[in-house]
């Protein structure tokens, strides 16, 4: 589904990704781990199409198409979802309004009509119940005055409503208490499906106790330094990231 080859990307003249290759197939859950500054968030932003990052080499194909040619909104409509590390507060834009606009933008792209208002509300309430979110959040400004946990749940709500083919969750576990972490993990697990790939960008092994990955990759200096199964995450937890760096430098 997603094929990244030898990707190099920089921001403001500083190269962050230095020849990264990764492939993720439908049905798989990948975890990308790595120390601060290794390029995890950059990778997520580049896949989503952030224009501040310049791709200088390599390729990214999504469902066989060149992803790098598409605008962020086109990528989203094609089925890519980025769950933000720091979800943006948008005062004055109603949460329900954004959800509906997002769902309709995708439906239009698929040649479908707008979602029925009643059906939309029913669906949103169902997903919110699953995430343990109060319905009042539908009528508040997007992330406006939300706590850290509420923001992350809101990201998962958007993902659940949009049903993406590829979901990239950037540090979704950061700043969450154990209840919020469970709710978010449950939300993600409920979206695991043979048609969908999920990439979890995370710092800590903790999230992986709740969402079991098929593949674990460790990023170091803008490249994948090591890949393995879930046992790699456990080894990292035990030995720290220096172990990978040292191994990579050998």
């Amino acid at each position: 589904m997603l094929e990244i080859k030898d990707l190099k990307a920089s921001i403001g003249g500083t190269e962050i990704l230095r020849g990264l290759s990764l492939s993720a197939n439908a049905g798989e859950v990948h975890a990308i781990m790595g120390p601060n500054g290794s390029g995890k968030s950059t990778l997520a932003q580049v896949i989503a199409g952030h224009e501040d990052y310049e791709v200088t080499a390599g390729s990214v194909t999504f469902k066989g198409e060149n992803l790098l040619e598409l605008a962020p909104e086109e990528r989203a409509r094609e089925g890519i979802f980025l769950g933000f590390q720091y979800p943006v507060e948008i005062a004055g834009v109603n949460n329900a309004y954004l959800l509906k606009a997002a769902v309709n933008a995708k439906r239009k792209h698929q040649g479908l009509g707008e979602i029925d208002a009643f059906e939309f509300l029913k669906l949103a309430k169902e997903k919110m119940a699953l995430l343990g979110m109060d319905q009042k959040f539908l009528h508040r400004g997007v992330n406006e005055g939300f706590s850290g946990g509420e923001k992350k749940r809101n990201e998962i709500l958007q993902m659940a409503m949009l049903e993406p083919c590829l979901a990239i969750l950037d540090e979704t576990d950061s700043g969450l208490d154990i209840d919020a972490l469970r709710a978010v993990a449950e939300g993600v697990n409920s979206l695991r499906s043979p048609d969908r790939a999920i990439i979890l960008v995370t710092h800590y092994q903790r999230l992986l106790d709740y969402i079991e990955p098929d593949h674990v990759h460790v990023l170091s200096d803008g490249r994948i330094a090591r890949s393995g199964d879930k046992s790699l995450a456990l080894a990292l937890e035990e030995k720290g990231y220096d172990w990978i760096r040292e191994a990579a430098n050998e």
């Binding site: 989503a48 199409g49 989203a76 979802f81 943006v88 606009a101």
Partner: protein, 431 residues
Amino acid sequence: MSPSSLSMDVLRDVVEQLPDDALSASRLAALEHLNKYGLPTTRDEDWKYTDLTQIIDVSNRWLNSKRESSSSAKTQALIDEIRNSIEADWLVVTDGQLDAQSIDEFARSSEPGVRISLLSDSAQGISFDAPLSDLNAALLQDGLRIHVAKDVALARPVGILFVDNADASPGMTQTRIEIELAVGSDATFIEYHASIGADDHYSNAVGNLLVGDNAHANYVRIQDRGLSHKHTNRMSIRCGRDSKLNHCAFDIGGGFVRNDIVIDIAEPGSCIVFDGLYLVGNGQHIDNHTRADHRVGPAESHQEYRGILAGQARAVWNGKAIVHKGADGTDAEQSNHNLLLSEKCEVDAKPELEIYADDVKCSHGTTVGQLDETALFYLRTRGISRHAAKQMLTSAFAQTIVGKSPIHAEGDRVGARVAQRLDQMMQGVNT
């Protein structure tokens, strides 16, 4: 005579030709005041960014023209449209002339406790102590006085609709309203300025609002004039003991606009909230000056003005709060936020706080910025196009004020007009 001064001789002739009535003495006194002090220039601090040359030019051309007003079927259609879209008991002023039919209708159908009279009905005269108020008083044919009786609470808003027709020839109109809410009364007022036609036109509005002790007033001013129109408006407000005022001002149209709101807080216990939204597109100039004099405490004034500018637009916001000596317990807050949608627009934002009392709570904040790129990207990653995302963020910025209006309702005229105007403005700035 320099081109930037009024043709005073012609003005005097015009004033002298006006009917001899209870306002005659005020007119002549105002003319003398104007003759003595003239109109402000950009050398006056309060008028630094707003040059009245354009207004003087239209006024002179009007003075030297036949000075005919021509109401048309189009004027009536616009009046009907506005009256039908906003629930209120309406009084109509067309081309500066009070519409007798609307006054009769109002007298018949309005609620008990509200009384309408003409300024010319009384010998008490009119005030003209500020720039352009003297011009207004000198040329004023007549104005409206609205009185809400003691302890009366009006269920329906009182609307005053000013419509000018600028279909042909330069036009100039003077309008004046005096509103008094007696002790313990409660009422909502809508002051709506609209126009048709695209020729040069200058309208000069003056208002006085007295909110009595323990009275509660909601006041919404909507300026939605054509883009060739020049408009000035000065509203003086006095607030009584323990009174409440919610004032909300919208500038949706107008080519060259200057609004002054002057609030006098001379009794303790009052709470004034005044908000504003100005939409300034290519070629427009909109200046909002406000002043709140806290003479006693405790009293509160809270101001939030927001502006959206596009193309080659120019806006001025000057908010002054003066806490006089002894006005302890004052809570004065002002904020002004500006959203710039193009690189060519300019806003001069100037908060001014003068504090001469000891125990006060005062704050001010001003921002001038562009749409938040992070928020735009966030929306785009949800499948929203860049253009739609910009519209969403821009309308959310405006919605903060629209939602605070005391007459706000889902899908109402003001909200719809704001949305339409923003759309037009953004058509010109989309990249």
